[in-house]
């Protein structure tokens, strides 16, 4: 019998994995750095909370709107961001994160410092989704997101993304519009973050600006970098490991942000491909071990 504690951890991990998959589309597929992904996670959560609590919509009616708004804001913020240089993009996305968090915190419409409470649980087949059923609902959404990412890597778009990342000028002269593809990645990635945020809101039933602060973005990026940027399963593996570790070593909880940052630096220095990426030590060791068996 699974304890409710384990289910809680599992559910949060699955929800976060959805956001990290979205980040992977932006960072991994399109090669655009984003240090403000939690902003879009928050936009999804707040949009769904407001639509359900204040406008009385159901989660399901709100969902397409949430995803569309997440994508639309991603598009609006992506437009100017994409034209700036990489280091500026990092700063710009951090800025976006702080601004969005501040808006949530200081504008009364978003509940101010108190946040928004009383967010209804998701109803499915007349069942209020919580515990194990909610976990599976989230897992279902994660599967869809992974499928989309997988389809993406098989499609034309991934070829275009590869071409743009490697030789942007040559790709552009081949008829591949870099701006268009980068925006596509931004829209896909931020929509996924919004979906994840929505699930988070209806799971916690209470949200607060602090849930979507900059350290959360750093966390997402650490998970992605640990698992493997640009891979299909990397975001999931990274999220699982970083979700479970602090539960096993309690002291980590207090130093979570420090741990994330250190991990990020170490990974980028020594294993930029992540656990599942190219030249991965772990993958090498595993494949060697299996060959020997």
């Amino acid at each position: 019998m699974l304890s409710s504690y384990a289910i809680t951890i599992g559910t949060i991990i699955v929800i976060q994995a959805i956001a990290v998959c979205g980040l992977n589309v932006i960072v991994g597929f399109a090669g655009q750095i984003s240090l403000g992904h939690a902003a879009f996670f928050g936009i999804g959560a707040y949009t769904s909370a407001i639509l359900t609590v204040k406008a009385g919509l159901s989660f399901w009616t709100a969902l397409p709107i949430v995803i569309a708004i997440g994508g639309l804001i991603g598009l609006m913020l992506g437009l100017p961001s994409i034209r700036v240089r990489e280091d500026f993009l990092a700063i710009t996305t951090i800025g976006i994160n702080f601004i969005v968090e501040a808006l949530f915190r200081y504008i009364p419409f978003f509940g101010g410092a108190l946040g928004i409470g009383g967010i209804p649980r998701i109803m499915l087949f007349d069942i209020r989704m919580k515990g194990i059923p909610f976990f599976f609902l989230c897992l279902f959404f994660l599967c869809i997101v992974i499928l989309i990412c997988w389809w993406f890597t098989r499609s034309w778009a991934s070829l275009a993304f590869y071409a743009i990342r490697e030789e942007e000028t040559a790709a552009s002269a081949m008829g591949i519009s870099p701006v268009r593809f980068k925006l596509l990645a931004f829209v896909m990635g931020t929509s996924m973050a919004a979906l994840s945020g929505s699930l988070y809101a209806h799971y916690m039933q209470f949200i607060n600006a602090g849930d979507f602060s900059f350290p959360v973005s750093v966390g997402f990026l650490s998970m992605l970098v640990l698992g493997g940027i640009g891979t299909i399963w990397g975001p999931v593996i990274g999220t699982v490991i970083l979700g479970v570790l602090p539960e096993l070593f309690r002291p980590l909880v207090d130093y979570r942000i420090l741990f994330y940052t250190l991990l990020l630096l170490v990974m980028i220095r020594f294993q930029p491909g992540g656990l599942l990426g190219e030249k991965s030590l772990v993958k090498n060791i595993l494949s060697r071990t299996f060959k020997r068996c």
Binding site: W156, L159, A160, Y162, A163, E166, E167, T169, A170, A171, S172, A173, M174, G175, I176, S177, P178
Partner: protein, 236 residues
């Protein structure tokens, strides 16, 4: 006129690399621009492709001014470039590299048709289909770059220093291919070359570029017998 470039000025910062160049191409012509290192040949080609913006001047393609149009749209209008130093996508396979050249063209049948034609022209590419482009030799990458530009069936092909890094036999072969494309398929080609002899030999007309300005122009074979050209570019 098929392509017309008028009063082209291009600067990199304070340095003016091209200062007032005019030239044109009729449909179906093969025209060369020859000139020494740093004369501004690559700059002109990149400007026609739309990779770099001109400071002044107009580029007119098929009667339409395209000066402000970005490169990816020019590519869709049928202009393709074989860039200097090939610029293939190193971590894509040979086949995938060719696919990128076919972007936005949905006709699968056309693709396989042109692919098998290109594999016939460049047999080495067929043998290396599944190999990463980064593992090809320089000359092979050059061939891939040509094939990638040709697969879309362009109307205007811009070729920058295609002979660079190719062995003599392949140089002849590639020039032969360009000549055939021009004569048999009516492809309009603008050729930029250090290898002045080979390029003038297959060209109808040519322009001679010296530090950003055009100093001579005319029939390619007449230019070949011009004493000045002979001395400076043909080395005899």
């Amino acid at each position: 006129m098929f392509l017309e470039v008028k009063g082209l000025h291009v600067s990199y910062g304070d340095i003016e690399a091209v200062s007032g160049v005019d030239f044109y191409l009729e449909k179906g012509e093969l025209v060369s621009i020859i000139g020494a290192n740093g004369a501004g040949k690559t700059t002109i080609l990149n400007c026609v492709m739309g990779i770099i913006p001109p400071k002044e001047g107009a580029i007119i393609f098929k009667g339409k001014e395209i000066t402000g149009i970005p490169d990816f749209e020019r590519a869709r209008m049928g202009i393709r470039i074989v860039p200097e130093r090939s610029r293939v996508f190193p971590r894509l396979t040979v086949y995938e590299n060719l696919l990128t050249g076919f972007y936005r063209i949905r006709d699968r049948e056309k693709f396989s048709e042109r692919l098998s034609w290109l594999y016939e022209v460049f047999p080495v590419l067929r043998n290396r289909q599944g190999q990463l482009a980064s593992t090809l030799s320089g000359g092979e990458q050059q061939q891939l770059s040509i094939a990638r530009a040709l697969i879309s069936n362009p109307e205007l092909l811009l070729v920058d220093e295609v002979s660079m890094g190719l062995m003599p036999k392949l140089v002849d072969q590639v020039f032969e291919i360009l000549k055939r494309l021009n004569e048999e398929h009516g492809l309009t080609i603008l050729l930029v070359e250090q290898n002045a002899y080979a390029s003038l030999n297959i060209s109808k007309r040519a322009y001679v570029l010296e530090t950003g300005t055009c100093v001579l122009e005319g029939d390619a074979h007449e230019l070949m017998s011009n004493p000045e050209v002979k001395e400076v570019y043909l080395g005899n």
